[in-house]
Amino acid sequence: MNSSVQTAPLLEVRNLSKHFGAVRALNDFSMVVRPGEVVALAGDNGAGKTTLIKAISGVYQPTGGEILLRGQPVSFTTPQEAREKGIETIYQDLALADNLSIGANIFLGREPMRKAFGFLPVLDRKAMAAAAKETMSRLDFHVSRLEAPVSNFSGGQRQAVAIGRAVYWDAQILIMDEPTAALGVPEQRKVISLIHQLKAQGRGVIFISHNLHDIFAVSDRIVVLRRGVQAGERKISETNHDEVVKLMVGG
């Protein structure tokens, strides 16, 4: 932790605001994510977590403030632009096409092609399957049925596919919105260990969860939002559940 304080930030959010008319969903918010760091974002419903990640990932254009990626100011008009710069959002409701294989999901929208008989462009399913296998094993996730549609897999495995897609396309910042919410306990553990893998690979993770147990299991720092403003920031090693809950409810 101490060593990572010295490294340059991967992502820096400075005085970011997003207003919807008179509603200040996010106001003058700042935070930093360093390489290999997991920052938890906590807060009650309506505290502004979703607004913040949408502003970072290009869904919303901020009303004020700035976003810096490796020290360079950036602004995204679409989520695609953010993705091209290495900011990938993994949604709670799993943005996967259930009827397609792992490989097809990883490559969805940018499928590799090959020439059959030397002239006819066709989908390169072998390359997709190979990339799927390689990517999933990098996440220490071994699947044998690479041709099967992802609907055959469990919730945790599908979460891993979504993370795998981000890893394959070399996302440096992964924003994970409640990645453990819809999962059983063993599956939750699997996702937590996936996040440890991402951390070990030097990526930055913004982890949103209602589950303080998960937050304490995986994060380096926690940033608490309340009514659109930063209510506090703590190192996980220096805080406890009670203090975080107090920050969330404003006690």
């Binding site: 409701d93 799993l94 943005a95 996967l96 096409a97 969805l108 929208g109 989908l123 059983g184 063993p186």
Partner: protein
Amino acid sequence: MTSTSPAQQAEKHVAPQADHSDAAKSLVRRIAEGRAWLFLAGLIVCFEVWSRFAYGATFVLNPFNLQSIAIFAVAPLLLATGQTFVIISGGIDLSLGFIMGLAAVIAAHATNMAGAAIPLPLAMLAGILAAVIVAGVPGVINGLLISRLRIPPFIGTLGMFGVARGAAYLLAGGTTVPVQNSWFALLGNGKFYSVPYLVIITAIFVIVMHYILSQTRFGQHNYAIGANAQAARRAGIDIKDHILRLYVLSAMCAGLGGALYAARFTAGAAQAGEPLLLDSVAAVVIGGASLFGGSGTIFGTVAGALVIAVIQYGLVFVNVEPFWQFIAVGVVIIISVLIDQAQRRFSGARQDE
């Protein structure tokens, strides 16, 4: 916070079980996917037995029967290939029947007009081309209505059903338009080694459509959009553009169907595709596609169209009153959907988690 609820504890026993019945599941899925071909085989056996007992004649080994069934299947199959793409994307195209009629009328007029100026074979090609291009116009409108103005496909294409119908009757002057072109008549009725030209053209077209659906990005995105449009959008797929091209493609399939109709009957008629619309949907559903989108194949649809053609032709062949055709096709549709649902319940229950 650290404790886990009993419900969560129970869940952990669910996940590992999934792998055990995997082989059985994939077998069931394969049977369900190939059910149209099984139906087809069963039907042919039934008619063969029936025909031999009742008339002492073979049904399936008679080349005339095979030709007739293939010719019967051509027009519904052309509509159904386009419909397959649309249904996989989660939509439906109700305008195809009258787009086909419109195209048949255009093909007849254009062939006649061009025939006055250029050689007959070129005039034939010009007529077919005109029919397919004009058919694309209602397709563009369908696509724009559905993708840009967010009109549900059912309603948008129902509106176009009426517009295309009226336009076709107006252009035909309320009657059929005869074609004066010997090449066009030959295309519609000639044979190559006893295989009708229409069947050859349709077979080539179907293979091209199979290629587009199964081997190109367009096809892959079509499946993704049908399963999870939100996911497809997040993956950067331009859904509006895709939907537009999709409905143009399906309309152009109907356009080719209309042109071939005009060739077969050497006349264009506005009502050419009227009875074929629902057959096209039926062929797709019998072929294994789900009306909820995300699944289906061109070859399944081919089997579905052949099932319908065999029922229609076979019942006539064994001298059953033609009204039984409707009942038989209806029963096959219902059985087909029941098999689909049973298979989903058996192997796809996890989708509900």
